[in-house]
């Protein structure tokens, strides 16, 4: 009965893996999802969520060593072969951020750093002046700076010109789950950037991550949306697919938006009922 053959079903592109890897600082990552580890109630749950998300790069914070809770997170990441991106969370000044980055480089033996210099604890928004200062200092000290920034196209370009390895504009303030508040600005940042753009912060659910990719971002960084979801592993898996779907849609080229309807079925040859 059905003689239709579906050409192309066997030629699925392997986006997110071999066909379209995320390359940053010369390193090839198989996933365009960068996971944060903050907010998980247990290490076991976190490990399961990280695996379900398929991430190959995760952020960690640097805090005082406590003998009671010896480096289990570090060991977890080593065991799962997940690359570490230390952050400078909790730093309010360039000086604090530079020292924290130096400590992270020593402890974790990576020159990658997610530079986060926040203005205050209420908004957790980046302090642009300190961010620029810290970027300059860290680049001079040989760090690969992943700059967490406001969704400001001018600032993003300035950070790139200072030598940032990647710019990471926020979708919304950290932990809010409000999604991408200014998609136009994100698009503008992407259109002018020649370093990878990573949408960082504010993601609430899978469709937000898909949108980030559709806007042209190279990757998405999130933590809370997974770690504080009711089922973190399931949400991790949802994000894995969302990032791939958004990337595919971006590459496929969406249809233009139209004011009026456009029939997809031809009017020609239709039966007439008199």
């Amino acid at each position: 009965m059905n003689e239709t053959t579906f050409a192309g079903t066997q030629a699925m592109p392997t986006v997110g893996t071999a066909g379209d890897p995320f390359v940053v600082d010369g390193v090839t990552l198989g996933s365009r999802l960068i996971m944060g580890t903050g907010g998980a109630p247990s290490l076991d749950g976190l490990g399961a969520a990280l695996l379900a998300s398929g991430t190959e790069l995760t952020t960690v914070a640097m805090r005082r060593y406590s003998p009671a809770e010896t480096g289990s997170l570090f060991q977890l990441l080593v065991d799962h072969h997940i690359r570490v991106l230390p952050n400078t969370a909790g730093c309010f000044t360039a000086k604090e951020a530079v020292l924290t980055a130096e400590l992270a480089r020593e402890a974790l033996e990576t020159d990658w750093v997610k530079l986060e210099v926040i203005a205050d604890e209420h908004t957790l928004l980046p302090d642009a002046v300190e961010l620029v200062d810290a970027t300059e200092q860290l680049v001079a000290r040989g760090f690969k700076v992943f700059a967490y920034t406001n969704d400001d196209p001018v600032l993003a370009l300035r950070l790139e010109n200072l030598g940032a390895t990647a710019v990471m504009p926020l979708g919304a303030p950290i932990g809010t789950g409000l999604g991408i508040l200014n998609p136009h600005n994100i698009e503008l940042i992407v259109s002018r950037a020649s370093v990878p753009v990573v949408l960082d912060a504010g993601i609430g659910t899978a469709s937000d991550a898909a949108l980030a990719m559709e806007l042209g971002c190279d990757a998405v960084l999130l933590a809370t949306a997974v770690t504080r979801a009711q089922n973190p592993s399931l949400m991790g898996e949802a994000f894995k697919h969302a990032v791939i779907a958004g990337r595919l849609a971006k590459k496929a080229g969406r249809i233009p938006r139209r004011e009026h309807a456009l029939a997809s079925s031809a009017m020609e040859g239709r039966a007439e009922f008199l």
């Binding site: 960690v60 914070a61 005082r64 060593y65 010896t70 480096g71 020292l99 130096e102 020593e106």
Partner: protein
Amino acid sequence: MNIRLNGTEQSVADGASVSTLVSQLTGRSIGPDGRAADGQKLGVAVARNAEVVPRSQWHATALADGDDVELVTAVQGG
């Protein structure tokens, strides 16, 4: 002598090195190169008086009375 370790007063043996302190706290044996003798990564870093002490210098760096020492590691964070 007394130092401040991660914000808390602590007494250490006179002339103890950074390496000795890290070894005591982590319970790991540390070689002269600042790496764990068991070959596994230590995952910690030390700042002394707000300056990072590279692991290669731990062995040669003697602590002094009143030093402010921060020993940090990776924890969960976005």
